[in-house]
């Protein structure tokens, strides 16, 4: 098959099973050069497994996969030489200092020590860790370790950087620092592939994304397209004091006809609407008085909820 140089990754009916368990159940996607591509989905949706297959550290059990037009099955090392990988658990070398982590890693790509040292210093500057160069990895905070892992992934000037949950477990300030660096990379034209279960992350960073659920892709497009296709422009969140699950489900019935769709959650009711003011007026007319009313624009979180009936981040908060 002729290879289009602008397509970095191509998957067709890609599958991965561990024994009886099917982690990835036939996914199709293409990642183009220069774009930031995201996999959005809850934990266990099969995102990391897909990332590992693209990173050539996991063998597909079915379907087709091409990375840089090559076959991960037989050309894994060649592909890995052109990738930058930031795994979920960083996999930094705990026996080395911050600076050594970069220089030694460069050695795995056959980069000469002299060049590696210059590159390492530049990258530490880029991720704002220059002052920590001589520290042991264990002395760094979670956010700093993630930034070091990002710096490390860039040491071989990769054509595609793969980040698995780049800000999971980081505090808000550390998240923003990571996002800012990733924006910079995007601006430099580096192709980025990331997984996330944070809809704000996907919305901010991704040009194009796929929504994954239970090993399948259930929607794809730009964040804007996904919102336009699957939900209304605005969402009105209604809370009714201490009322929860069953009571809210009953209350939701009384809202029939208001807005385009109604979704009762354990702690609130969502009304999907194209005009929040109309919805408020309709509530007033029916003499329904929630304890709080919040009108906001629809997000990817709402898309996910509409598509799966579940929230993206369920166990946190």
């Amino acid at each position: 098959m002729p290879h289009d140089d602008e397509i970095l990754v191509r998957a067709a009916d890609l599958r991965k099973s561990y024994g009886e368990h099917e982690a990835v159940r036939g996914v199709d996607f293409e990642i183009r050069r220069g774009e930031a591509f995201g996999f959005l989905g809850a934990n266990g949706a099969g995102k990391s497994t897909t990332m590992r297959m693209i990173g050539c550290v996991s063998q597909p059990t079915g379907g087709e996969l091409e990375v840089f037009g090559r076959d991960p099955h037989t050309q894994g090392a060649e592909i890995r030489a052109r990738l930058g990988v930031v795994p979920q658990d960083n996999t930094l070398d705990g026996m080395l200092t911050v600076f050594e982590n970069l220089v030694v890693y460069a050695g795995y790509f056959g980069i000469k020590k002299k060049v590696a040292k210059v590159k390492a210093a530049e990258l530490l500057e880029f991720v704002q860790l220059s002052s920590r160069a001589k520290d042991q990895v264990s002395e760094l905070s979670g956010g700093m370790q993630r930034r070091l892992a990002i710096a490390r992934s860039l040491i071989n000037e990769p054509e595609l950087v793969i980040l698995d949950e780049p800000t999971t477990g980081l505090d808000p300030q550390a998240r923003h620092l990571v996002w800012e660096r990733l924006f910079q990379l995007k601006h430099r034209g580096v192709s980025i592939l990331l997984t996330t279960h944070y809809m704000d992350e996907a919305e901010q960073l991704c040009d194009r994304l796929v929504v994954m659920d239970e090993g399948r892709i259930i929607a794809s497009g730009s964040p804007r397209e996904l919102i336009d296709t699957h939900v209304t422009k605005e969402v009105v969140e209604l809370r009714f004091g201490p009322a929860h699950t069953t009571e809210l489900a009953e209350l939701a019935l009384t809202l029939n006809g208001i807005g385009a769709q109604i979704e009762a959650l354990p702690d609130k009711i969502l009304v999907y609407t194209d005009d929040a003011d109309d919805t408020n007026a309709a509530l007033e007319a029916r003499k329904i008085h929630p304890t709080s009313v919040l009108a906001r624009r629809a997000t990817l979180e709402d898309v996910f909820l509409r598509l799966t009936g579940r929230a993206l981040v369920e166990d946190e908060a």
């Binding site: 550290v57 070398d93 705990g94 026996m95 795995y108 056959g110």
Partner: protein, 265 residues
């Protein structure tokens, strides 16, 4: 199973050299650990060679030659030192890097392949084992225990021992589940040290026990080193070398398969 895990032929020296470099950078702050390993072997030499040797005096070998007991025991302790150095490096250290520190998880996301890792670890173990061997041979020479020029060949002979146990250690590191497994390894190692021909010729054991000794890798190592340091050469030496090399290659092959299976899942 894994096709991502390439064959030995494709593992380049350069890739394994990168892992060697990693170990060097990681360990250069901890040279004291390596020195301590050499000291241990020297203590054995003093205790058994000079302590016990002074009581035993000269012994007569099965072929009729008479030598001092210290000269008889010293090559075996050298062989033991060669074994211990690499075994500690490949089994315990590789296990820690593999299971605890997850060092290889990061490495196998790079162009390095399991074979490169196995090869790099063997290089490194040889360097560490080599420092023990060199220190030991110098001490043997200083005490007049090297009788002929042949005895200089004890050094390359020790390299074969180191290779065999590097392979064995790597395999054990990938098979072991937790630290208690190392107690089994230590028990077997100690049994080899006691009964592998260190202190008495294997002919002194009852007939039924002799085949067990012949299986012990350390026995072949001891015979090789002793034969060379005493200048007693024979065709059996090729058997010893072949056995040790086979263990090295088998060990590396199993280890890289296990690494690939565990990390390329």
């Amino acid at each position: 199973m894994s096709v991502i895990a390439y064959g030995a032929a494709r593992a380049s020296l350069k890739s394994s050299g990168a892992l060697l470099n990693r170990n060097w950078v990681a360990m250069r702050r901890a040279w004291i650990l390596i020195i301590s390993g050499a000291v241990e072997s020297l203590l054995f030499l003093f205790a058994f060679g000079f302590g016990v040797g002074a009581l035993v005096g000269d012994i007569t070998l099965p072929d009729g030659t008479t030598i001092s007991y210290t000269a008889y025991v010293a090559p075996a302790i050298l062989a033991n030192a060669a074994m211990m150095g690499v075994l500690a490096e490949t089994s315990i250290n590789v296990f820690a890097k593999f299971k605890w520190m997850k060092v290889y998880d990061g490495i196998l996301a790079t162009p390095l392949r399991p074979w490169d890792v196995a090869l790099g670890e063997v290089w490194w173990a040889l360097i560490r084992g080599g420092t023990y061997i060199a220190a030991f041979v110098v001490v043997m020479g200083a005490f007049g225990l090297l009788d002929s020029w042949w005895s200089l060949l004890a050094v390359p002979a020790c390299v074969f021992i180191a290779l065999a146990f590097a392979g064995i250690g790597l395999t054990l590191a990938t098979l072991f589940r937790d630290w208690p497994d190392f107690d089994w390894m230590n028990a077997v190692v100690f049994a080899m040290f006691l009964f592998g021909g260190t202190f008495t010729p294997v002919e002194a054991y009852p007939a039924f026990a002799q085949p067990i000794v012949y299986i012990m890798p350390l026995y072949h190592g001891i015979e090789l080193v002793r034969g060379l340091s005493l200048g007693q050469l024979g065709p059996m030496m090729f058997v010893h070398i072949a056995y040790l090399m086979a263990l090295c290659l088998a060990g590396m092959w199993i280890a890289q398969k296990r690494l690939a299976k565990a990390l390329y899942k």
